[in-house]
Symmetry: C2
């Protein structure tokens, strides 16, 4: 191998790693937008936004497959080690989290149509607040990835607790609404799943934060986080 061609190989390997990073950032932007559309759809009962969120899903899935194929090719042809291998693994894990976030966004959007008119205001401000925090976390963790910023990743990881707190309050609020009026039940059941889906998106952003931290620092985050969703333990009784 001449010096020139060896140089060429190295340069194009770096370009490939760069391209892989770009794919993740592109996919991150797409699911961010999907979440924004889906929550707007629910909050304003907008079926057009709901359809847009659902229709983006195949694009997200296609990007996931592209990342996976890219990684398989990189592993086979470049046989990366150490830092590069860690980055490539990180991309593989992040693409999986992003794909699932896309699924949650589509599921939230689909439920818009099942919410009946009158219930649009139920838990609206709490849901809007939760959705905004989830979107902020998602945007921030993709920034952390693209800037190799371990500190920023930790911030996202810490902030998930607030999202969990809001979710637990919404769970309680929705069950109470159901008890007050049976006409709320069907919509509130969907709102329960919508809130739970947002909570899961927050969890996946937290997973991505852990992955980014590990990719940058080379060690897992040395701290534990309290389990956030305590609603599984809640028993709520109707007023006598």
């Amino acid at each position: 191998v001449s010096e020139t061609s060896s140089h060429h190989v190295i340069k194009s390997y770096e370009q490939e790693l760069h391209r892989l990073r770009d794919l993740i950032v592109e996919m991150g932007g797409l699911v961010e937008n999907q979440i924004a559309l889906a929550t707007a759809a629910v909050l304003t009962q907008d079926p057009v936004a709901a359809s847009s969120a659902v229709e983006q899903d195949p694009q997200v899935d296609a990007l996931e497959r592209e990342v996976e194929q890219f990684v398989i090719r990189l592993l086979a042809l470049r046989q990366p080690v150490a830092d590069d291998l860690r980055l490539i693994f990180a991309c593989l894990k992040i693409t999986d989290d992003l794909e699932r976030i896309g699924d949650y966004a589509a599921n939230i959007a689909k439920r818009t149509l099942a919410l009946s008119q009158g219930t649009a205001t139920i838990s609206r401000s709490a849901l809007a607040h939760m959705a905004r925090l989830v979107q902020d976390g998602l945007k921030k963790v993709i920034d952390a990835f693209s800037e190799n910023d371990a500190e920023k990743a930790i911030e996202v990881w810490r902030d998930d607790e607030t999202i969990d707190d809001i979710y637990n309050a919404i769970f309680r609020e929705l069950v109470t609404y159901m008890m007050e009026d049976p006409r709320n039940i069907s919509s509130c059941a969907h709102l329960l799943f919508i809130a739970k889906n947002l909570e899961r998106v927050g969890d996946h952003a937290t997973n991505i934060a852990e992955t980014v931290y590990y990719a940058v620092v080379g060690e897992p985050i040395a701290d534990t986080r309290p389990k956030g969703d305590v609603s599984a333990y809640m028993t709520i009784r109707p007023p006598q």
Copy 2:
């Protein structure tokens, strides 16, 4: 490298791949057991079974990390290609699905404690039926993996539709129970999540089936499956 040591390397590489497969089968058995414990806990309101299911979770997580570390080492040291690379990738994807199934089992188990006594019989037979199908699918897909049986994988993939149908019926049934008596609402909200969690376990078994098929055949399943959970679109009105 002498012939003996080269032979030694090849033999131990095969042993490593075998060990990787064993780890997946072990993890599969563990989450199967977790699902069995969790559903038994819900159906018989057994807090001991519930605790056992929750307490197995760290073991499942530890196995996932072991698989990941094993794969990273294999990729770095053996630089596998073609079939082996596909198998290793499959193991990585399957371990991720299994870890999530373990999470769903733990979440189901936790909700046992929030179900109040009287509601144990609500949707009991449908839930029991659904849980049995989910467990069967999970067992079968792990068998398909360990036997390289693409046909068996396809069967699991097809059977998921039945699970989805039962889930949709349970969703409708639970919302109706809530409307009938506000004292059912809190428990039924948990039962909604329990059923949804089982439905998600079925989806993950389907993912594993796709992964096994791809690892064995080298191509994705050439067929599409209808989206099973249509409950997101359901609006159910209380009787006038």
